[in-house]
């Protein structure tokens, strides 16, 4: 299917692996699935009862990718439910993400409600980029809900980033780990102007020997506001490490409200949080290379969010 330039451009930003209409993919454009394809091991089925898709990833899928981007270039509210079923032993990278191109004066909003049901001994990487552009005055809103159930001995890697343009976001993540399951989360967030971002993340370490490592990096500029609420609940012998680092600039405001909750005497849970201004010594050093203050700031932020 032929895609217009706006869609192509947004796809380039949100799908860093490169979106192609090949293999397993599904492109949702302005609230409609406009094109989709299955691969030998990955099947995408449209839901009957509500908007969204079910994605079935078979055990034979090894080092395969599935791309399911969402692009909104027209105002409106789009709520979509996507469910992933990953069989025992599968190894897959799921590239999702949502890009808004807003030119109008009314709201453009996408609520992606995702659930991952991961079997045993599987390896899943889920990459999600959120982005908005366009000169429209209507607010650009993304409210993702992600529920992840990681089976025994499986590894789930979640990389989520929102670097630009989204006026308001409220993300809800819920992760549940079975025995020996591991989750690695990296969250990157940058807000500008009057943008608002709320990130709630609950990780329940239910299984013995389960572990979680959560790294959250954020930069707040302008008068933007960010609130983080990571919560790790250890219900067994387990390890969890939550690290939240933020750079605050201008008139921005950041709150980090960690919660660590142990329900087992062998649960080890660590939380580190730091909010601080941009490192002045680094800034000065880069300026001695001939970079302006703005250029140096951009390098530091890019490096921090890398």
């Amino acid at each position: 299917m032929e895609l217009n330039q706006v869609t192509e451009d947004v796809l380039k930003v949100i799908d860093s692996y490169g979106f192609k209409q090949e293999g397993a993919y599904n492109l949702r454009l302005n609230g409609m699935a406009v094109c989709h394809g299955d691969s030998r091991h990955i099947r995408i089925v449209k839901k009957e009862d509500k908007p969204g898709i079910d994605i079935f990833i078979s055990a034979e899928a090894q080092k395969e990718q599935v791309h399911i981007p969402v692009v909104m270039s027209e105002p409106g509210v789009d709520v979509v439910y996507n469910d992933f079923y990953v069989e025992d032993g599968a190894d897959v990278t799921i590239v999702a993400g949502c890009g808004i191109h807003g030119e109008g004066c009314s709201e453009t909003r996408h609520d992606g409600i995702h659930a991952f049901h991961v079997g045993k001994n599987a390896n899943v990487k889920y990459v999600e980029n959120h982005y908005a552009e366009g000169n429209g005055t209507g607010s650009k809103v993304l409210n993702p809900v992600t529920k992840i159930f990681v089976g025994e001995n499986s590894v789930f890697t979640l990389e989520t980033s929102q670097i630009k343009g989204v006026d308001s976001t409220k993300r809800e993540n819920y992760i549940e780990l079975a025995e020996n399951a591991k989750v690695y989360v990296t969250e990157k967030l940058m807000t500008h102007a009057a943008q608002k971002a709320i990130s709630n993340m609950d990780v329940e370490l239910k299984g013995k020997n389960s572990s979680a490592r959560i790294i959250s990096r954020s930069v707040a500029k302008g008068e933007s506001k960010q609130v983080f609420h990571p919560r790790a609940i250890g219900e067994n012998l387990c390890h969890a490490h939550v690290q939240c680092d933020s750079i605050i600039m201008d008139e921005a405001e950041i709150s980090s409200i960690p919660e660590i909750n142990a329900k087992h005497m062998d649960a080890q849970i660590v939380h580190e949080a730091a909010i601080g201004r941009i490192n002045d010594e680094q800034l000065v050093k880069l300026r001695t290379f001939g970079m302006t203050e703005e250029e140096a700031e951009a390098v530091i932020i890019e490096n921090f969010l890398k």
């Binding site: 000065v284 001695t288 290379f289 203050e293 490096n303 921090f304």
Partner: protein
């Protein structure tokens, strides 16, 4: 040529004005090596930071190659031809040594160029180029990378603040060779702040800064004999309190 006239720097300490540098004047000719030495806390690093525009002088004038740079920002001075190696270099969590060198050079360096830079400060490129310039590097390693960032680009004048500090004997010898080479080729003027005899010996001229003032400045032969074996009484309590302690 760098010309410094009547440079002073005051700070506000607990509401009181305190003078860190007072009326410092000197010049550095093209291709010349000036070594600044003197007791700890004398004001050497403060002077270096004023030259680079990192601190703002209270009074005075700095001219580089005929242009008044006193009002220039750090980056404008860098573009005008100044290079600066910090006494205590900052670390860059998440940034590779390679990227730091690219940024320092202002362009993408080839693998060979990076390798050459690192070996000139005694570091093996293979081992360091993809490492992060973060707290996992030792003090001496970071210090040598700091020096490499300044060597990454041509400058008219480079300021090295205690380049020898924390560096092992072997790397120090390489560093000395590198400074000698730059000096011999007269490509760049050098201001080396140092407490090290071998560095001081390389100087065309030596300036001694003590208590925020130029205590002496002159040709190396002239200053050297007074430097070593001299006792400096840095405790002023007795004088201030009229001999009582």
């Amino acid at each position: 040529m760098l010309q410094v006239e009547h440079l002073s720097y005051d700070v506000q300490e607990e509401g009181r004005q305190s003078e860190i540098l007072s009326d410092v004047s000197f010049s550095v000719k093209d291709g010349e090596m000036l070594v600044i030495t003197g007791p700890n806390g004398g004001g050497k690093s403060t002077l270096a930071k004023l030259l680079m525009g990192i601190n703002k002088e209270t009074a005075g004038k700095i001219t580089l190659n005929g242009t008044d740079i006193t009002e220039m920002t750090i980056d404008e001075r860098a573009k005008a031809g100044m290079g600066f190696a910090f006494q205590q270099p900052p670390r860059f969590k998440g940034m590779t040594v390679r990227r730091l060198l690219h940024l320092a050079a202002g362009r993408a360096l080839s693998e060979d160029e990076c390798c050459e830079l690192l070996s000139s400060v005694g570091l093996c490129a293979m081992e360091y180029i993809d490492r992060e310039a973060d707290a996992t590097l030792s003090g001496g390693e970071m210090k040598r990378i700091e020096i490499a960032t300044v060597l990454a680009k041509h400058h008219d004048i480079c300021i090295f603040d205690e380049p020898e500090a924390g560096i092992d004997l072997w790397s120090f010898s390489m560093l000395i060779k590198r400074f000698e080479q730059i000096h011999r080729e007269k490509r760049e003027s050098l201001i080396l702040i140092s407490h090290q005899e071998r560095i001081i010996q390389m100087a065309d001229r030596i300036m001694v800064i003590s208590d925020g003032k130029v205590e002496s400045i002159g040709a190396a032969e002239e200053i050297m004999p007074h430097l070593f074996g001299q006792e400096i009484n840095s405790c002023h309590c007795r004088q201030q309190k009229g001999g009582e302690l």
